[in-house]
Symmetry: C2
Subunit: 198 residues, 2 copies
């Protein structure tokens, strides 16, 4: 059922899909969807949990690895763009659920899925500054810059369609975009560009 919701949001390019559409796609009874998730919000929370818990764990593991901060950040940017490529609705869903939720619920979501990323950035920045690889930047600002830069092409794909005649973002386009975003952000982050080529 979560996979049905995910693929509907992806193919229709909107987070506004109904429980009955999800039931139909998953080929189950709508009552079953209601039984498992209660309502749309319950399903959305379960989908965020499925999609983001792994991502947060992987980022934490990456930060703990014995690698140069420059490499860690490049891996992370590449993984983030891949995540939005497969789940282009994810950032919109996360924002919508924080906006619509009551305060304690919204806070819990922010602390579960956003705070760990910002903490990981803080650690990577500190490590990078310590090794002389990175300029010092503000981690809370870097979060918005990176999320926005990596997500926007998947959130506003009508621009690709109507301005450039590109209907679908395929794997080649995703890789080309990742290369440019990584070059641009890492170029702004590193003290010396030549460390990027090592």
């Amino acid at each position: 059922m979560l996979e049905a919701a995910s693929s509907l949001m992806r193919s229709r390019d909107t987070i506004d899909v109904s429980l009955s559409d999800i039931a139909q796609t998953a080929k189950v009874n709508a009552a079953l969807v209601k039984y498992y998730f209660g309502n749309k919000r319950g399903l959305v929370l379960a989908l965020l949990e499925r999609d983001l818990t792994n991502a947060v764990t992987q980022l934490r593991d990456l930060v703990d690895m014995d690698l140069r901060p420059t490499l860690k950040m490049k891996y992370h940017l590449s993984a983030l763009i891949k995540m939005y490529f497969y789940r282009p609705y994810l950032n919109r869903l996360l924002t919508a659920v924080m906006r619509d939720g009551n305060e304690p619920a919204a806070r819990e979501i922010a602390l579960s899925y956003c705070a760990p990323i910002i903490e990981a950035y803080q650690r990577m920045i500190e490590d990078g500054v310590a090794t002389g690889e990175f300029k010092y930047v503000d981690a809370k600002f870097l979060y918005f810059t990176i999320i926005g830069a990596c997500d926007q092409i998947f959130s506003a794909r009508y621009v690709l369609r109507y301005v450039h005649g590109i209907e679908e973002i395929d794997d080649d386009l995703r890789r080309a975009y990742a290369r440019q975003v990584i070059d641009l952000i890492m170029g702004g982050l590193v003290v010396d560009d030549s460390t990027l080529r090592e």
Copy 2:
């Protein structure tokens, strides 16, 4: 009435405001809003026209000015962040109207408000490469990176609220964010960092 719509979208942090709420805020009869704009979509199109036509003209004028490409791009990034600061709903509204519209209408919007920005980027990149200031980058990709990086802090302000305890983005925060985004993007774009300090 457009100002009422704009301030409602800003204060409520959502683009889902009703015509009757707008009429109430503007202190006019709801029938008058209907008379002028027909429906919600008509009002949204008029709001985009008001907010974006000037921005597109100013960017074209900037590109025509006799300034170094590095300076032009810095001015543009600063102006873009200021625009989203005053109108944090703008990018979401633009995307929503392209998503919901029929194809010819969506195409016209993309060609009116997105294509001129991408063309301006293309010219700035070519000029910057010609003067030896910029690395060559793809303008269509740069559009998404820049829009996302500049817009995201205003589109996902719940992260600031719940992770950092920051309720409002004030002028100081806006300026600090602009500084970091400009440093990061320009650092990735320029061939030699020392040109940024000239």
